[in-house]
Symmetry: C2
Amino acid sequence: MLHLVGLGLADETDITVRGLEIVKRAERVYLEAYTSILLVDKEKLEAFYGRPVIEADRELVETGSDDILADGDKVDIVFLVVGDPFGATTHTDLVLRARELGIETKVVPNASIMSGIGCTGLQLYNFGQTVSMVFFTETWKPSSYYDRVRENVQTGLHTLVLLDIKVKEQSLENMARGRRIFEPPRYMTVAQCAAQMLETEEERQEGVYGPDSLAVGAARVGAANQKLVSGTLKELSTVEMGAPLHSLVLLGRRTHELERDYIREYAVNKETFDASYAKGYGASL
Amino acid sequence: MLHLVGLGLADETDITVRGLEIVKRAERVYLEAYTSILLVDKEKLEAFYGRPVIEADRELVETGSDDILADGDKVDIVFLVVGDPFGATTHTDLVLRARELGIETKVVPNASIMSGIGCTGLQLYNFGQTVSMVFFTETWKPSSYYDRVRENVQTGLHTLVLLDIKVKEQSLENMARGRRIFEPPRYMTVAQCAAQMLETEEERQEGVYGPDSLAVGAARVGAANQKLVSGTLKELSTVEMGAPLHSLVLLGRRTHELERDYIREYAVNKETFDASYAKGYGASL
């Protein structure tokens, strides 16, 4: 049997009691370690579980899934996923492959950033579709997310923006020479995301949002040192939120006053917050 | 300190390790028992925690929150919430009251139906806003949800519909006479929801969806006996999904073929599924 076990958002104690029991008695335990990270490392997990954990990088999951699933019809295999197994990154390909091999799959759900973002005080009911923001380069600044944000903005809904992470990436030179040397991991910050959003708006000039649009930055959701900041995109483009992971929510026009009161408490600057809010937000709009 | 602890979706073992530690050493533990339910009863939780749990009904939370928060500046108080504390039903009012009283609040996130619904194989990225469906009566059939569904349909997104539950409701007669006698709990089924959706469409006649529109019914998400069914709204209006809780997802036009393949596996009838799908779904639309 293949068990997809969610780890939640912050540290080793965020696993559920049911998940922990399964991990302890499984034959092999893999950790998906390329689409998201916990705020603790693999060694901490191993100490907590009292057993070894095999790191599964993109290569192993995408081309070596049959190794992961080996003997899955006879023994229990665990695939640990940060957040929820069917959250931001789903592993339906692994499940479909297991199904083909006649291996049963079970899922242990956990907190995902898609629901954990409710800690901002913004109602999950008022979110539209979620978008992803990748690291821009000099020559590659994809803006398809902008069209989806527009759809949410037109309806008046909040947009959760999930931020890129780069783990075990090779430089072009190392890749060309076949050297398995990896760049240090990179995690997009709220400030980078806000700056890239403004860059896209400047390029597209379609007025989906602007420097005065309100947003919420969230860092380390679910952890003891979680940090929330609200402000204009311009303010957030220079905000310092500390260690990863970060997310951003672009505020929708149909914000309820209870939501406003809640996020105003952690505004960078209550004066600019109120001024921007008065210009275009409120449930009656 | 006030700890809002998420319980996840199914049974007593869905609490996180961190959550369980907090529950075991807290001074008082309340269970929010009127907006959602676990699939096990309070006694099971008490046996698992090894301590008493106080059931908090709507009355206590809404008018007796100061009793819940008593001594919260000196001792640890736990407020257990099915799912995630900031999921479908948020308790921002309790948090705001704690803040007024100078009581610090911490949150232990967990799986919520808002992310757990990813188990259907539908991508959380492709969901628009979530709506709620209440039990219709002869004289009260609120259809404001229909306008929100329309916004999602126009954008091509899936809609998660959360279904009403009635716990500790009094009949009008008992209420008038001040008798604290409660009706048996009621939980809306997928079939009732689909039927009510079709009733609204028949009344409004605005073509937001119809009997042939595709949807997914989900029962007991996260539990061992979880059940998923896909089909047309007409098919789902007579489907039998067993014990609560149920949810429904109305399929958006922009369904990806991987999503289609996944949900087609559990179609009531693959032939009608394919026929309906061909008429109006697919990522290119």
